[in-house]
């Protein structure tokens, strides 16, 4: 039976819209806040497009992105080898590691409808086998680089407004400002994952695939709705 594509893609559509509305909201609220600071410093307010192409907006976006993608990268990668007894986010202890080709349906064990690169063998199967972590890692590194460049530019701008030397990008990479922006995002992401791993052992959400079935025992690992 063919379902309506809005139904079969509801999760990605909902999060796509939430992302878009949040980013637009951040742009407008960020502009208002930036202009409040400009007025306080007796500097001219900036327009919407000038703000959304500014280093201030870029660093505020990028510092959150890098931490989110780092969170997913680590979660995807560490759960290959590390397990948590009772968590639906974890595999059973016997399944630790990258598992056999038979378990993963690759190369000679691929199904007729398996992705082409799962059947291909060689470097293509190796790349496809790690593609999720590679893309998450790539976006993490890219976002962190953007954070460092845009963050330096925004920091240098405020230094100049305060009649101080702007410094260099290299100096900024070792600065408290860069690491404070980075670590305040990392700690919250790691707390969220840690809570999810542990709380999902003992708590349930009926109907959610992120939870075990309500009646599943606490020590049952890897089960989900």
């Amino acid at each position: 039976m063919k379902h309506n594509p809005f139904l079969t893609n509801g999760l990605s559509i909902a999060f796509g819209l939430l992302f878009a509305f949040s980013l637009i909201g951040q742009a407008f609220s960020g502009l208002a806040y930036f202009n409040e600071q400009q007025m306080a410093s007796e500097l001219e307010p900036v327009g919407f497009w000038q703000y959304v192409t500014s280093s201030s907006f870029a660093v505020d976006v990028a510092e959150n992105w890098q931490s989110e993608f780092l969170q997913f990268l680590l979660f995807i990668w560490l759960t290959v080898w590390l397990v948590q007894k009772g968590s639906p986010e974890s595999k059973e202890i016997e399944k630790r590691g990258t598992q056999s080709d038979k378990d993963q349906l690759v190369r000679g064990f691929a199904q007729p409808d398996s992705p082409k690169w799962a059947k291909a063998g060689g470097f293509r199967t190796r790349i496809f086998s790690n593609s999720l972590a590679l893309v998450m890692g790539g976006i993490f590194v890219g976002s962190w680089l953007v954070q460092s460049v845009a963050g330096f530019s925004a920091f240098a701008e405020s230094q100049l407004a305060n009649l101080q030397d702007p410094g260099t990008w290299g100096e900024y990479l070792g600065s408290p400002e860069f690491w404070n922006r980075t670590l305040q995002n990392w700690q919250s992401e790691f707390l969220a994952v840690w809570s999810m791993v542990i709380l999902s052992v003992y708590l349930r959400q009926r109907g959610s695939p992120e939870s075990k079935p309500v009646g599943e025992p606490h020590d049952s690992t890897g089960a989900s709705n």
């Binding site: 007796e42 500097l43 001219e44 900036v46 959304v52 192409t53 500014s54 280093s55 201030s56 907006f57 870029a58 660093v59 976006v61 990028a62 992705p115 082409k116 593609s131 893309v135 790539g138 976006i139 890219g142 976002s143 680089l145 953007v146 460049v149 845009a150 530019s153 925004a154 240098a156 701008e157 100049l160 407004a161 305060n162 009649l163 101080q164 030397d165 702007p166």
Partner: protein, 140 residues
């Protein structure tokens, strides 16, 4: 639609967004360092030739206001009395977003963007290391 093609476009879109953000970050690095240097040089040329009125026209409104604050006298009169060290050769110019710094042979000048023109917020500045520069002319 070929599902494989769809799959390879998602990472490309992600990389595109990161690249766009990187360009946005970089685009703010140097919006016109040579214009900032020209303004700083014009300021000192005007002062050297005794045209304090022209030098005042290159100052940001907040800086003119601060200069005229307190005792009587126009911006030009007070700027002329300050006897800033003459400077002519631009050694380095840096601009980030709407602020710039121009280092001349005998002065460091700070500027801000006013519309599409640079205006001077501080001049006659001496470095104090990590602390803000000590400036003879500066805004509020």
């Amino acid at each position: 639609m070929d599902p494989q093609a769809h799959r390879t476009r998602a990472p490309l879109a992600g990389a595109g967004v990161v690249l766009a953000l990187l360009l946005a970050g970089c685009s703010s690095l140097n919006p016109g360092t040579s214009d900032a240097a020209d303004t700083a040089a014009q300021f000192h040329t005007a002062l050297s030739s005794g045209d304090a009125q022209a030098a005042c026209s290159l100052l940001a409104p907040g800086t003119v206001e601060k200069l005229e604050d307190g005792s009587d006298g126009s911006c030009a009169q007070k700027l002329g009395q300050l006897q800033l060290d003459p400077a002519s050769a631009v050694q380095q110019s840096q601009a980030f977003g709407s602020n710039a710094q121009v280092q001349l042979d005998a002065d460091t000048v700070f500027l801000t963007l006013s519309g599409d023109r640079w205006k001077i917020t501080a001049a006659g500045c001496t470095s104090r290391g990590e602390k803000p520069y000590d400036c003879e002319v500066e805004g509020g």
